[in-house]
């Protein structure tokens, strides 16, 4: 879509002459000319257009939504997709045994990343299922004596929705508000814990604004008050050091596709000492200690295990790289543009998730303008609705700023060039959109927008 007709004609000519590839310099270097006005070029050759569209793709800056597979993870998975395809629960033949061995090895790899025992790891279909098991399973098991749960307003939809469905079953849920920084107030948490509270659920790193909650302190509070502590660590596992014993975590949700592993797999950590009892959501043959029946997908869990192992080795290096790129991105944007707000606490923050609000610019139009970069203006699961994200509302962002927020995701595979390109395009389009904005004009003239009385129709 970013081509000039001249290129299309040249490409058509090249294809028309099926000569040996070696004649082209540097083996088939197709000169591409980029055009910023995609509508101007009349698609003379739809085949060319299609072929090019399948080759040129936007830069990927949305790692909070999902991550690409690490080649080392794919390498670990392939044998189990092709050769060693047995069911790990088949006890009678070698296919089953080798599959089971791989599954147990993966379990060990996941456990060692978070400082747990392999027997405490249960494989699930993803962090959403893990969150459901944690919240609903614990609440329902202790339903006779404990009827109260605590969570925060910035949790992932699956936790909030599980809590809502439990409310319909007769439980009480307290949704703790967050401060402007996005972090919860520990005193409020302590005040909210009642004698009949069974579970506190707070996510480690928020997927929209990247704030890190004080997990160790929350774990301390919960263990002293004898309340189970669950954390949704989907965005944090493998990126920041986590230890379930140091941080006194009782349940933890892990997602495969956020740590460069495959989609469709996750895990839940359920503490054994002291034992956390959970009512199983999925009934069946009693696999995974009865907590999650169903055949464990060996290739996927091998991928998850490999991803966890790679993450453990690469954690420090990745953190340095991502911090460096995040610093570069924020500094460049903030130095070139006025009226840009970073959402979330700047100190207790995971560097790879940067949420910026550009005042006087509409978020959707900026996203559409930045069509060569894959970005998001909120979490993927809420991007279908037109409302601004509930997380931004919870941290007290003004309506207009909430609508103009963009989330930049930086990951292991992001390069400096991609960041520079994104920054440059972003600055260019924000300036362009602001030029078109009457609100911006008014602000430049010194009018205080809050003092304006918009007429009621």
């Amino acid at each position: 879509m970013l081509l000039r007709t001249a290129w299309r004609r040249a490409a058509a000519a090249v294809r028309a002459a099926p000569g040996p590839r070696s004649e082209a310099p540097a083996r088939g270097l197709r000169l591409r000319v980029v055009d910023n006005a995609p509508q101007s070029a009349v698609p003379s050759d739809t085949a060319t257009a299609l072929e090019v569209e399948s080759v040129l793709r936007p830069l990927y800056m949305d790692v909070q939504a999902t991550t690409p597979l690490d080649p080392r993870v794919l390498d670990a998975m392939l044998p189990y997709l092709v050769n060693y395809y047995g069911n790990p629960h088949s006890r009678t033949h070698a296919y089953g045994w080798e599959s089971e061995a791989a599954m147990e090895r993966a379990r060990q790899q996941v456990a060692s990343l978070i400082g747990a025992d392999p027997r405490e790891i249960i494989f699930t279909s993803g962090a959403t299922e893990s969150n459901n098991i944690a919240v609903k399973g614990v609440a329902r098991f202790y339903r006779s004596r404990k009827k109260h749960l605590i969570t925060t307003q910035t949790e992932h939809k699956c936790v909030l929705d599980s809590c809502r469905s439990l409310e319909a079953e007769g439980f009480q849920v307290t949704y703790l508000p967050v401060k402007k920084s996005g972090i919860i107030d520990l005193k409020e948490l302590e005040a909210a814990i009642q004698p009949d509270t069974s579970l506190v659920s707070v996510m480690t790193v928020n997927n929209e604004i990247g704030v890190k909650q004080p997990i160790a302190e929350i774990g301390q509070i919960c263990s002293s008050r004898r309340v189970y502590f669950h954390t949704d660590a989907a965005q944090a596992v493998g990126k920041i050091p986590l230890d379930v014993n140091d941080m006194k975590i009782d349940l933890m949700s892990i997602s495969g596709h956020k740590i460069y592993g495959p989609k469709g797999v996750g895990a839940i950590y359920i503490r054994r000492r002291p034992r956390v009892r959970v009512e199983a959501l999925q009934s069946g043959g009693g696999q995974e200690r009865g907590m999650r029946s169903g055949t464990v997908p060996t290739p996927l869990v091998v991928g998850l295990g490999a991803a966890c192992e790679v993450a453990q080795q690469e954690m420090e290096y990745d953190h340095k790289w991502i911090s460096k790129l995040a610093e570069r991105l924020t500094k460049k944007i903030m130095n070139s543009l006025p009226d840009v707000v970073m959402n979330g606490d700047p100190e207790h923050h995971y560097p790879g998730c940067i949420n910026l609000s550009f005042a006087y610019v509409e978020g959707e139009s900026l996203l559409m303008a930045l069509k060569d970069v894959a970005l998001s203006s909120g979490s993927a699961c809420t991007s279908a609705s037109l409302e601004p994200s509930y997380v931004l509302r919870a941290i007290g962002t003004d309506e207009d700023l909430a609508h103009s927020s963009i989330r930049f995701g930086i990951g292991r595979f992001t390069t400096e060039e991609e960041v520079d390109y994104t920054v440059e395009k972003c600055i260019h389009h924000v300036k362009r959109l602001r030029e078109m904005s009457p609100l911006w004009e008014m602000v430049q003239d010194g009018i205080d927008l809050k003092s304006i009385k918009w007429t009621q129709h």
Binding site: L2, R27, V34, S54, V55, L56, P71
Partner: protein, 118 residues
């Protein structure tokens, strides 16, 4: 196996960089090259021969992984990134960063179609 000499380590380094440049995906290629350089640089002052041998063995395993993945991913259509012609840069050095190393094979989805600049 004899302890790895400096020459062997350098050969391994060169081989890994050469193989990595064959990744058709831009992000994998750039990550592999960068990671290999940084890893070898970080460990260049290691003196203990046992540790050196462990690192060399790991590197050999990683080289095999790169070889296998480069091969298996050759059949997927190469994806390129948006080219950035409107950023004024000196062409040659940067262009070579995005061109994978030359290979004698001629493939239907040549990996040269990824990230080009004019």
């Amino acid at each position: 196996m004899a302890a790895s000499s400096r020459a062997q380590v350098l050969d391994l380094y060169r081989a890994m960089l050469r193989e990595s440049k064959h990744f058709s995906a831009y992000n994998y290629r750039t990550y592999a090259v960068r990671r290999i350089r940084d890893a070898f640089r970080e460990n260049k002052n290691v003196k203990d021969p046992v540790e050196i041998q462990t690192l060399v063995n790991k590197a050999k395993r990683d080289l095999e992984i790169i070889r296998r993945q480069v091969m298996s991913l050759k059949s997927t259509p190469a994806v390129g990134m948006v080219s950035r012609t409107h950023i004024p840069r000196t062409g040659a050095a940067l262009r070579n960063l995005y061109l994978p190393g030359s290979s004698s094979q001629s493939l239907p989805y040549s990996s040269s179609s990824s990230s080009e600049m004019t």
